[in-house]
């Protein structure tokens, strides 16, 4: 049990998918203007990554590996991810139309979020078992959501600040992201237990 907890903390904080591995930067910069919508984005991505981690593990072990179709890995993984994104898009549209409109293009673009494909591939690479794969997926997406909402909160405050014109918009957001990454360096080399 504690092994899984350590895995969760390690994937969420120590090896944070955004600030340490620099995956999933597109929604990180794109959907971080409002705290509410970025939290929604985080939840949607959590769903997709966790589902994809589990489904891709099953795909790898029951279809691709037995049939020796390893070269189809990326193609089939993307298929699963795309389907999961389609599904979550329908759900979001039905349940919260406001969030659907706010997320806009970034919702279908979860498909191309490199973190979503990266984590199932990482699982295969590290030969994780099913439970560990799901845990890695969940931990990574919790880390993603945490950083995304943190960043959105900072950007909301920044939107009220008088940023010099030269840095307005994207530049200051990148500076902010880099400073946040610096702060996350505090977790580097962390050994639990």
């Amino acid at each position: 049990m504690s092994e899984y907890l350590i895995l969760l903390v390690s994937t969420a904080l120590v090896n944070n998918v955004v600030l340490v591995k620099f995956l999933g930067l597109c929604p990180f910069m794109g959907v971080s203007k409002k705290l509410d919508s970025s939290f929604g984005m985080g939840l949607a991505t959590t769903f997709v990554i966790t589902l994809a981690s589990g489904a891709c593990w099953a795909l790898e072990h029951y279809l691709l590996a037995p049939l020796g179709l390893n070269y189809l890995r990326i193609l089939t993984f993307i298929l699963v991810i795309a389907a999961a994104v389609q599904f979550i898009e329908m759900v979001v549209r039905k349940v919260t139309p406001e969030l659907y409109r706010t997320l806009g293009i970034y919702l279908p673009l979860i498909t191309t979020n490199c973190a979503v494909l990266g984590i199932p591939l990482l699982n295969v690479q590290q030969a994780n078992n099913f439970a560990m794969s799901v845990m890695v997926g969940f931990g990574a997406s919790v880390g993603f959501t945490l950083v995304l909402t943190m960043f959105a909160g900072l950007r909301e405050r920044l939107s009220l600040a008088k940023v010099p014109q030269t840095f307005e918009g994207a530049p200051v957001s990148f500076v902010l992201a880099s400073l946040l990454a610096l702060a996350f360096m505090g977790f580097s080399g962390m050994k639990l237990g």
């Binding site: 500076v175 702060a183 996350f184 505090g186 977790f187 080399g189």
Partner: protein
């Protein structure tokens, strides 16, 4: 009687003000740092003084250049004292004999990328001094962990040569801080019961290895109490932060003294005091409500202990403060005071009729 052209002034109430100006507040904070700083100069000699001077100068220059670049007059804004305070706090967190360019890079980083990029005073999201310290630590780990023992303070000129890198520091002078030493030994498999502390690693009076802000713990704490007495800061952040370091430390040490450092050492080492009273209490980057400040302080303390105990770096105050800075907007959003006549959720309070008492 026409109203046209007769309006002398359209000013809103109040017509009286009591607030101390920003610069007075900043200068009072600086004043409370003076005893600890002077004690540090006495301990580590003139290199510490030169580094302090260079760091503050760099911070001021960074601020002035940015303001000029933004088309504003730098002089009145430099007078608010915030850049001075930032440079000062950064200088207190550096190794006292660090080379001059550490101070220059740190000071410039603090006021430019740490503060002016976001729009200057009041708009920065991270504590400028700590973000500069972390940037230095990550970029120049060797220089930033090169500590000297507090002995044989060189003269003014020799000190300047040391700071400028023109005079080699004798090997006998170099040492490790207590937290650094403990981390290294634990990593080597030596438990804390069998570790042999080098000389000057710990000293109740403060004559020990470390930054200016680490050695003079008592004077820093006294300065903090002075800030409390002047009502510039409130007890919420410092008490919460120190408690959140001490309590897990005490529990850990009681459970396994070979693995966990005791709580007094935790509080007396690293930047615990400086962080609790001067860094985490920074108005701009901490929550604005009392309850939020308690949460913020607890987070800072706990993260400090976690990073010191489990992390790769021996000292965690700067990281902890920055991480909590990043959470400050979220804390401010979630924890709000209850508005008069409303419930905690913000809905109008229900009517409750009946006889008054």
């Amino acid at each position: 009687m026409s109203a046209q052209g007769m309006i002398l002034q359209t000013v809103a109430s109040p017509h009286a003000r009591a607030g101390e100006s920003v610069s007075v507040v900043m200068l009072k904070v600086v004043a409370t740092l003076v005893p600890a700083t002077v004690y540090g100069f006495w301990l580590f000699g003139s290199p510490a003084f030169w580094l302090w001077l260079i760091t503050i100068a760099a911070a001021l220059v960074g601020e002035a250049v940015c303001l000029r670049w933004a088309g504003r007059d730098p002089l009145p804004l430099l007078k608010d004292g915030s850049a001075l305070l930032t440079g000062w706090l950064l200088a207190l967190s550096l190794p006292p004999w660090a080379p001059w360019w550490i101070g220059v890079v740190g000071g410039l980083f603090a006021t430019t990328l740490g503060k002016q990029v976001f729009g200057g005073l009041g708009n920065n999201l991270f504590n400028p001094a700590m973000i500069a310290r972390i940037a230095l630590l990550v970029s120049f780990p060797v220089q930033m962990t090169y500590w000297v023992v507090p002995a044989g303070a060189p003269g003014l000129f020799d000190g300047l040569l040391i700071t400028l890198g023109q005079m080699p520091v004798p090997d006998a002078m170099s040492s490790a801080t207590l937290l650094g030493h403990a981390k290294t030994d634990l990593a080597r498999g030596v438990d804390l019961l069998h570790t042999e502390l080098p000389g000057h690693a710990f000293n109740w009076v403060g004559a020990r290895v470390g930054s200016l802000g680490e050695t003079s713990t008592w004077l820093i704490a006294a300065g903090g109490v002075a800030l409390l007495a002047m009502r510039i800061i409130t007890w919420h952040v410092p008490v919460a932060m120190l408690a959140a370091i001490a309590i897990p430390a005490a529990i850990g040490h009681a459970a396994d003294p070979a693995r966990y450092i005791d709580w007094t050492t935790h509080l007396m080492s690293g930047g615990a005091m400086l962080g609790a009273f001067f860094i985490a209490t920074d108005y701009v980057t901490s929550p604005s409500t009392r309850a939020g400040q308690v949460v913020f302080g607890l987070g800072c303390g706990l993260l400090t202990w976690v990073i010191r105990t489990y992390g790769g770096y021996p000292e965690g105050v700067a990281f902890a403060v920055l991480l909590m800075n990043a959470l400050t907007p979220a804390i401010d959003r979630l924890i709000k005071p209850r508005v008069y006549g409303r419930t905690f959720g913000g809905k109008p309070a229900p009517l409750q009729k009946g006889k008054s008492k």
